[in-house]
């Protein structure tokens, strides 16, 4: 009696161990697959109002209602096995850019809030940032092009022309410059660029934007004001105490050492 009971208990424990092992193995594989799949494609451009890539991937239910709502067929849902995370909406500006509908139908169609309804003005959308390849931009080469500037829905703000007056043996140049403060990343410039490969293209902000950090002060601009607290005195604590105090600017030359 007790034998059979212990046998059945052993059976149960073995079954439990087997089940756990199977669950752990399959679960790990599954989670690994997810990590691979969710790994954000560095160049994925999302519809206007899209949350940050990680939140977007978590929230998007992959229903494609934004795709249907877009009147320009800009958006596509990523297929399986492609570069873009599966089933999520994205666009390729060189094919069809975002034409910045003022009523933002894609965002309104989104049932989950992956495209955030907080976006009230389409000009506040930040799908990406236009970046100019200065070496291949016709305008920067000195030709009169400026097509991106003329096509830009926010021209004069998102793309401005910097003019360099004519010099000897060099004619005037009108060079487009992108301002991230206003650029929506719609990609109309990339679509319009006449070079064989677009010399201006939209990239996700993370791919191109640096950050200067807090410790630099631009003393010549009116916005930044040099304050007393920024004096380097705060940086090394003990070192100045250890060294003999000298008048500023004095060194061994003043001490007659040579």
């Amino acid at each position: 009696m007790s034998d059979t009971r212990s046998a059945s208990r052993r059976d149960f424990l073995v079954k439990l161990a087997q089940g756990s092992a199977l669950a752990a193995t399959a679960g790990t594989l599954w989670a690994y697959l997810l990590k691979q799949e969710v790994r954000a494609h560095p160049f994925a451009l999302r519809p206007p109002g899209a949350r940050a890539e990680r939140d977007f991937n978590a929230a998007c239910i992959k229903c494609g209602q934004c795709v249907n709502a877009c009147p320009y067929d800009t958006l596509t849902l990523a297929g399986a096995g492609g570069d873009i995370p599966i089933g999520t909406p994205h666009f390729t500006p060189r094919d069809i850019p975002c034409y910045l509908c003022p009523d933002i139908p894609c965002m309104k169609a989104c049932p989950t809030g992956a495209l955030s309804p907080a976006l009230a003005d389409i000009n506040d959308s930040r799908m990406g940032l236009a970046v100019i390849d200065l070496e291949n931009c016709l305008s920067w080469k000195g030709l009169r092009c400026e097509i991106c500037h003329r096509e830009c829905p926010l021209k004069g703000k998102a793309i401005v022309l910097e003019t360099h007056p004519r010099r000897i043996s060099r004619h005037a140049m009108f060079m487009p410059i992108v301002h991230s403060e206003h650029c929506t990343g719609c990609g109309i410039c990339e679509k319009a660029c006449p070079t064989a490969e677009a010399a201006i293209r939209i990239l996700p902000h993370k791919m191109v934007q640096g950050k200067i950090g807090e410790h630099y002060r631009l003393g010549w601009t009116s916005e930044t004001e040099i304050t007393q607290e920024f004096q380097p005195s705060a940086a090394p604590d003990a070192a100045p105490e250890a060294a003999p105090r000298k008048a500023p600017g004095m060194d061994y030359l003043n001490e007659g050492g040579l």
């Binding site: 997810l34 239910i61 209602q65 990523a78 169609a109 809030g113």
Partner: protein, 310 residues
């Protein structure tokens, strides 16, 4: 096909099935034809809305979206409650629209049977049905047995992995999602996953995907347990010929002992596909409404068979 066990009336039932005229044979496919029509009709509505701009009225799309979430004629949203649940567990608070849609879909399947989704809506069903149909006609040996409760563990795993990875675990690997998405919105490599399922069902495990593994089916099984629309069983007319279990993709739900007790196919795994009701030579199995749902046993009062034939 042993000759001693089946009762004489069961033999008669089988003989009658075999002697059916062509039109009777076609008639016994009626639920199959209807299921294919709804499955492809729904996909067609999605496709037409996405590609041909089908509208219910001016500027009102007919059926926008796909099986994950959609909006019908601008009237009401629909959403896959299982997908919504995973997204919630992944840590994203969804907008009210999805919850409304999920509640509508959930309520509908609570009434008609959860796995009505599987048999009447899910496009993968057409693939696995084909694999199952072929397998019955090919000499494919059984490789191994897998418990049909595995799917509930897969369901639990989907929810758990959603929590720890922060994304809807099943939605990101779902062959169902791949299939309807890629039919409605354009091709990717999702057909490879479907091919894998087809071959798995055909060569490795009978009814392997839908009947053993699919967590969405498991979800709907749980939802459909208390559905009023179920298959009713009339023990008096049944001759135990066993044809129902032969065509059923979830034969365990036709456990005759349980059927005798309750007079209904009560298991949530039953997808109300109607194979058995369309085929039963005695009309012992037929769709019915049980209300209140807790009605058990005491079937004489409700077993006056008016549905003979078929």
């Amino acid at each position: 096909m042993s000759t001693d066990f089946p009762r004489a009336d069961a033999q008669a039932s089988l003989a009658r099935l075999r002697a059916r005229t062509l039109s009777a044979r076609l008639w016994s496919w009626r639920t199959l034809v209807l299921r294919r029509l709804t499955q492809f009709g729904i996909l067609l509505m999605f496709f037409g809305t996405a590609h041909w701009g089908w509208e219910a009225s001016r500027d009102v799309p007919l059926l926008s979206g796909n099986l994950s979430a959609s909006e019908f004629m601008g009237l009401f949203p629909m959403a896959d409650p299982f997908a919504a649940l995973q997204i919630l567990l992944a840590g994203h608070v969804l907008q009210a629209e999805v919850w409304t849609g999920a509640a509508i879909v959930f309520g509908f399947y609570m009434l008609v049977g959860g796995r009505v989704y599987c048999a009447w809506v899910c496009p993968v069903n057409a693939v696995t049905d084909l694999a199952g149909w072929l397998r019955q006609r090919l000499p494919v040996a059984t490789l191994f047995a897998l418990s049909r409760t595995t799917r509930y563990f897969v369901l639990a795993a989907a929810l758990f992995i959603s929590v720890i990875t922060g994304v809807a675990a099943f939605e990101w690997v779902s062959p169902i999602g791949m299939m309807h998405r890629e039919i409605v919105f354009g091709m990717g490599l999702g057909f490879l996953a479907l091919t894998a399922i087809f071959l798995f069902d055909l060569l490795i495990l009978r009814n392997g995907w839908c009947g053993h593994l699919c967590p969405l089916g498991a979800f709907w099984s749980l939802v459909g347990k208390a559905a009023p629309l179920r298959v009713r069983f009339d023990a008096d007319s049944c001759t135990r010929c066993g044809e129902c279990a032969r065509v059923c993709p979830e034969p365990q739900v036709l456990n005759l002992k349980k059927l005798d007790q309750s007079g209904w196919v009560t298991a949530g795994e039953c997808s109300n596909c109607g194979r058995c009701t369309a085929l039963c030579p005695e009309g012992s199995l037929a769709f019915g409404l049980r209300w209140p749902v807790r009605v058990r046993s005491d079937n004489p009062d409700q077993s006056n068979q008016s549905t003979r034939g078929g």
